[in-house]
């Protein structure tokens, strides 16, 4: 089993394939690779009040795609979850509380195929989550946290943070549970938790909105609104929901905002009678409009920063059809980024640089419909990720292995999430017309407050 963990750490990016049939649930489309992913079991237990926390954590671990999750049959679960505490030296009990005198039943978890067992308990108003290393028959990590009440708007995000700590504790990898996705539905910007819960309207006007984009600190976002025939960019704080127009915007058609990693600069596309070009503006001091491209007879749009802030990938129509280009962040050294066959390859659009800097996801016209592609930045090779239906506007999760994108594979356009390593695909929400997603970074404390 330890080898399995090791294998999981060493696993290279498996060629993820879009294997899914039309699926409405969650489980179809998974490529099971037994032995590659460690098994994990979330133990049922008392009190039942913690079941909502167990359910959220269990789903987060499942959606992390890093574990083979073992589900226990409901009725027998209580009995198999515990056994009389064996007098093992050096092993602390799961709760530390006197109420439970039963310890973890490691041989049973092992028999079920679990490498990790997660126990959720409570002492007073503190929630205690224990990560057991089954093979070692020992506690791997014990997390104690005071969660907000279930009805508190910050409750779910606080539990998601616990889930991420479980992933961190078990595998040493950072999870994506405490993240959200912004998207556009019927001209309004919404946000939704990565597990599909808490869809919330964040648009604060009746104007048509497009292209929401997160700042790298996860505390605010930018988006475009149509105003009297123009496109105006706004900055909005996540927490109080206040917003302000971006400096110099509103007189032309400004769209596709993208924050620089340091949060000081906003790059965007501006359409004028000269065509569309990429500009930057300093949003920290509200100054210093700069033009990065001069297209004249071609359009340049959809900028996305590399995570080190040194480069910007963007779309240019200079080869005739839109393709993915790259330049230095000051606009110099513009060159083709994603290779294409002239006259053969279709339009390529909507690039987004991965948070680890190694890939750029975009979509490309293949035979009249759009498919999600990933460019390997180092080798400058592209591979096609999807093939079922029309798939577009990919956006990276902070773990650089999940992408949210728009797909009509279930008959209507909505948001889906693909794990590049397992190829597993799941719907993020079941709403027709959801589009233009933007996945947040890991959300810091203090962003849980609802506007």
């Amino acid at each position: 089993m330890r080898f399995a963990i090791l294998a999981a750490c060493l696993v290279t990016r498996l060629a993820a394939q879009d294997t899914s049939a039309i699926d409405r649930g969650v489980r179809i489309g998974i490529i099971y690779r037994p032995g590659v992913r460690p098994g994990i079991v979330v133990l049922p237990g008392r009190p039942a009040a913690l079941d909502s926390i167990r359910a959220i954590i269990s789903r987060d671990l499942d959606f992390s795609d890093r574990f083979e999750e073992i589900t226990l049959p409901g009725s027998d679960s209580l009995r198999i979850s515990t056994r009389p505490l064996a007098p093992r030296a050096g092993t602390r009990g799961p709760t530390g509380g006197g109420a439970q005198t039963l310890g973890p039943n490691y041989p049973l978890y092992q028999a079920l195929g679990a490498d990790f067992a997660v126990d959720v308990a409570a002492t007073g108003d503190t929630t205690v989550v224990t990560v057991h290393d089954v093979a070692a028959a020992a506690v791997r990590r014990s997390l104690r946290v005071r969660l907000p009440p279930v009805k508190d708007p910050g409750f779910r995000l606080a539990v998601h943070r616990l889930s991420d700590q479980v992933v961190q504790g078990a595998l040493g990898a950072a999870g994506i549970a405490a993240t959200r996705v912004l998207f556009v539905l019927e001209g309004k910007v919404y946000r939704i938790d990565q597990d599909g819960a808490e869809m919330t309207l964040v648009s604060s006007s009746d104007k048509e909105a497009m292209s929401p984009a997160w700042s790298t600190d996860g505390r605010r976002f930018s988006y475009m609104e149509f105003w009297a025939g123009h496109g105006e960019l706004f900055l909005q704080d996540m927490a109080p929901g206040k917003r302000a127009p971006v400096f110099s915007t509103g007189k032309a058609l400004d769209f596709t905002p993208a924050f620089s990693p340091d949060g000081k600069t906003l790059a965007f596309s501006r359409a004028t009678e000269e065509g569309t070009d990429i500009y930057t503006v300093n949003v920290k001091d509200n100054c210093c409009l700069q033009r990065l491209t001069v297209g004249k007879f071609s359009d340049n749009l959809s900028p996305t920063y590399s995570p080190d802030g040194q480069r910007i990938a963007f779309v240019s129509t200079r080869p005739g059809l839109p393709q993915v280009y790259v330049m230095a962040a000051d606009g110099t050294d513009q060159q083709l980024f994603a290779p294409f066959d002239y006259g053969v390859t279709g339009s390529s659009n909507a690039p987004e640089w991965s948070p680890d800097g190694q890939s750029v996801a975009f979509h490309r016209d293949v035979g009249g419909t759009l498919q999600v592609f990933v460019l390997d930045v180092r080798t400058r090779t592209v591979r096609q990720l999807t093939s079922v239906g029309r798939n577009e506007d990919p956006t990276w999760a902070p773990d650089s292995r999940h992408l949210a994108f728009v797909s009509d594979r279930a008959g209507y356009r909505q948001l889906w999430i693909i794990d590049l390593e397992t190829g597993r695909i799941r719907p993020l929400l079941q709403r027709s017309g959801a589009r233009l997603p933007s996945w947040s970074p890991r959300l810091p404390e203090g962003t849980a407050v609802n506007p």
Partner: protein
């Protein structure tokens, strides 16, 4: 006949008796004395009615006049409106584009030339051209494409002598489809440029 003579006799008798009983004041003749006030009143009433009649006729004449005027102006307003509508329709005629193209089609030249004439005949009119796309392209790229389409239409008008400052351009990408379908017939309708009057469009002159 007999009864009538009886009445006459009775009448005479009454007259005689009353004359006989009059005594002290013999009335020579019962000439009615006219009351000066009532004469004035009557005179006033007569004058009033004449005046009223006069006023009435004046009013009626005025009303007639107004009605005629109203009708006349309504007719001319309707005419202006008709012309304005007609001219507005000429200006609002959409032009269409091929997939992922922003080049003007030959078949739209007539529509654009009509617009040039309208804009020349109505120098106060300002317009906004909006470029639109079908749903097949990328959502954000379509904003740039719609911008190219609106600009192409504007450049045609400007190259034929229309002042550039009278024409504003905007793009809505694929955000405001005209036809909701998901086939070529809907797409071809949605790949368009629209023309909208932003100022000076109250009364338009026909070119």
């Amino acid at each position: 006949m007999n009864r009538l003579s009886m009445l006459v006799v009775a009448g005479c008798a009454v007259a005689v008796v009353s004359a006989a009983c009059g005594g002290a004041k013999p009335v020579t003749a019962p000439t009615p004395v006219a009351n000066a006030d009532s004469i004035a009143a009557a005179e006033r009433a007569r004058n009033d009615s004449i005046e009223a009649a006069r006023q009435d006729s004046i009013r009626r004449a005025q009303e007639d006049n107004e009605r005629v005027n109203r009708q006349r102006s309504a007719d001319s307003l309707a005419a202006i409106q008709r012309t304005t509508e007609e001219v507005r329709a000429m200006l609002a005629t959409m032009i269409h584009f091929d997939f992922d193209r922003a080049t003007l089609r030959g078949e739209d030249t007539q529509a654009l030339d009509d617009k040039i004439k309208v804009l020349q005949a109505n120098p106060n009119v300002h317009i906004r051209i909006s470029g639109h796309c079908d749903e097949r392209g990328s959502d954000e790229y379509n904003l740039a494409l719609g911008n190219r389409r609106a600009t192409a239409a504007k450049q045609y008008l400007v190259s034929h002598g229309i002042d550039a400052s009278r024409i504003e351009t905007v793009s809505y990408g694929e955000e405001r489809p005209l036809a909701q379908g998901h086939d070529e017939s809907a797409w071809s309708q949605n790949r368009r440029a629209e023309f909208e009057i932003t100022a000076g469009g109250d009364a338009l002159t026909k070119p």
